[in-house]
């Protein structure tokens, strides 16, 4: 098992990389130049907060024992009773809690007080993610989605992507649109960051999917490890490639050109969709799931303009829609291992492999639980914040740029000969009063 532990440490690092820097870069490049730091920062601070509360009570709520919705937060509080040999698995699952929370930030770019996000993050992780992770990943007999319903979710189509997507939709509705949404240009300010972030997400996702292997007591561990990692690695790769093509074809038909942002988005759409299906389908299923997800998400990202909600960076259009496609299509393409090599594959046969509609029904029930739990509780948290501390920065701050307003920083100093000189610079050692500095205004306006 030494080899398995070394593999899991690497997988954990890969998923850690998905939040910082991969997701931060992916999102940061898509925002306007006046809010890129705030956008990236939301991922970084989610990492710090969720990581700590995961160790304190998150791990216990997810893996601390039986429970339909969640286990006791006190059973393994601060990892009491967890042996060091269990720490690698604990850390691997920590990275899932972190990235799921950070994913939501894309829905509310450019306009949310940093303090509101810092309050939202631990509340949401505790009340929404930890319970759903228990229902899906802690497959005790009474855990709702895995144990009772029996839905298949290899690495988190429900607990991670549908969950974050629904939460993003709720927050986009409660927080409201950016000023000028639908009227002013809000084009991505640096697509090279987004391309880089998407590629890093792709690499990190191998940790996410391939690392989600759970050993089956009835199988020889070495044989299962060899077969199952081969399957999940291959499926993750193929679905992503198919999704890029699906996205590009649809946008070429709809808008006339294949775009780099489309390719980057297709990568994520494919990865999202194959997440629940990675261990349950064969390569054909993986290709179809990726293709469908890429194509449908390319169309779905346009819905926010028709329906009038400002899901700024398309958390709904990619993670919710892609998560639904992947999770539901498991019901069609799930395939048990062929006779005589019963080592990797789906738990049941789906509709297309002679298993009837049973798997599809289970997958649908799992989706409904995830949507309902995430939707209702996220709404309660969002409203509580709205009517107490409030979500939004002032209108003036939003126009001038949230980076400077919330953090006193701007991402880019492009006019070095002018902006680095003058009073209040480094040599005087004094922090200039707020009224004397307005470095962000012209930069923001030209974005």
């Amino acid at each position: 098992m030494d080899g398995y532990n070394a593999f899991m440490l690497v997988a954990t690092l890969l998923v850690l990389m998905m939040t910082t820097p991969a997701l931060a870069l992916f999102y940061g490049g898509m925002t306007r130049s006046k809010s890129v730091l705030n956008m990236m920062f939301m991922s970084y601070v989610a990492m710090a907060i969720v990581g700590i509360i995961w160790v304190l009570w998150g791990y216990s709520m997810v893996f601390g024992g039986e429970g339909t919705f969640f286990a006791s937060p006190l059973e393994n509080f601060a990892l009491e009773g967890v042996g060091y040999e269990g720490y690698t698995f604990m850390a691997f699952q920590l990275t899932f809690a972190v990235i799921t929370t950070a994913l939501i930030s894309g829905a509310i770019a450019d306009r949310v007080k940093f303090s509101a996000w810092v309050v939202f993050v631990p509340l949401w992780a505790t009340l929404v993610y930890f319970p759903l992770a228990h229902m899906v990943f802690s497959c005790t007999d009474d855990s709702l989605i895995c144990g009772q319903i029996g839905a298949q979710d290899y690495a988190g189509g429900t607990a991670v992507h549908i969950n974050a997507g629904v939460a993003g939709l709720v927050l986009a509705l409660v927080v409201g649109k950016r000023l000028g949404f639908g009227r002013e240009p809000m084009r991505p300010h640096n697509l090279t960051l987004t391309m880089l972030g998407a590629a890093l997400l792709w690499v990190g996702w191998y940790g996410f999917n391939v690392g989600s292997l759970i050993f089956d007591d009835s199988l020889d561990p070495s044989t299962q490890f060899l077969a199952e990692t081969g399957l999940t690695f291959t499926n993750t790769t193929l679905a992503t490639m198919a999704a890029i093509l699906g996205w590009l074809v649809v946008e070429k038909l709809l808008h006339g050109k294949a775009t780099t942002l489309g390719a980057a988005s297709g990568i994520v759409a494919g990865l999202v969709a194959i997440t629940p299906a990675a261990g349950a389908v064969n390569v054909l299923g993986a290709c179809v799931i990726g293709l469908v997800s890429g194509a449908v998400c390319a169309w779905a990202v346009g819905l926010k303009f028709k329906l009038g909600f400002d899901d700024s960076l398309d958390v709904v259009g990619v993670h919710l829609v892609g998560g639904l496609i992947g999770t539901l299509m498991v019901g069609l393409f799930s395939r048990t291992a062929p006779e005589g090599s019963n080592i990797a594959g789906g738990a049941v046969d789906g509709l297309f492999y002679g298993g009837g509609v049973e798997s599809l029904v289970d997958q649908t029930l799992g989706v409904l639980v995830a949507v309902a739990w995430s939707g209702i509780i996220t709404l309660l948290i969002a409203l509580a914040i709205k009517y107490t501390m409030g979500w939004r920065v002032s209108e003036e701050a939003e126009i001038d740029g949230i980076d400077f307003d919330q953090h006193g920083e701007t991402a880019y100093d492009l006019n070095t000969s002018l902006s680095s000189s003058g009073k209040g610079g480094l040599l005087t050692g004094a922090v200039p009063p707020k009224s004397a500095t307005s470095p962000s205004k012209s930069e923001g306006a030209s974005a």
């Binding site: 240009p185 809000m186 084009r187 709809l254 006339g256 050109k257 775009t259 942002l261 346009g302």
Partner: protein
């Protein structure tokens, strides 16, 4: 003296500079600017959202010349910056009262 101000396509800037140096212009101020004329910018599409990008990047050249040279300089810029397609830019002349060289205090023709 006259101030020649030209707003031209960025990729034409090297040709214009070369032609002006050949003519004998010894210096100029160049800035990257953005704006639009009758072509009204262009549209870009990101994840299906179409944006009108009103501002097109341009190069602005400013040169102070003696009255006698003004028409020649203007003509050189127009000739070398022209592609015949929309968005080639504009050149205009404006009168300048006086010029001082900061280093020496020289005035007018001696300062150009």
């Amino acid at each position: 003296m006259k101030l020649v101000t030209a707003v031209i396509k960025p990729h034409k800037w090297e040709d214009v500079r070369e032609a002006l140096e050949t003519f004998g212009v010894t210096g100029m101020t160049v800035s990257e600017v953005s704006g639009y004329g009758r072509q009204k910018g262009h549209t870009e599409v990101y994840r299906g959202a179409e944006y009108d990008i009103a501002l097109v990047p341009k190069i602005r050249i400013e040169i102070v010349v003696e009255d006698d040279d003004a028409e020649d300089v203007l003509g050189i810029i127009v000739k070398t910056a022209q592609t015949g397609r929309i968005g080639d830019g504009k050149v205009w002349l404006s009168p300048v009262e006086s010029v001082v060289r900061v280093r020496t205090g020289d005035r007018d023709a001696a300062a150009i």
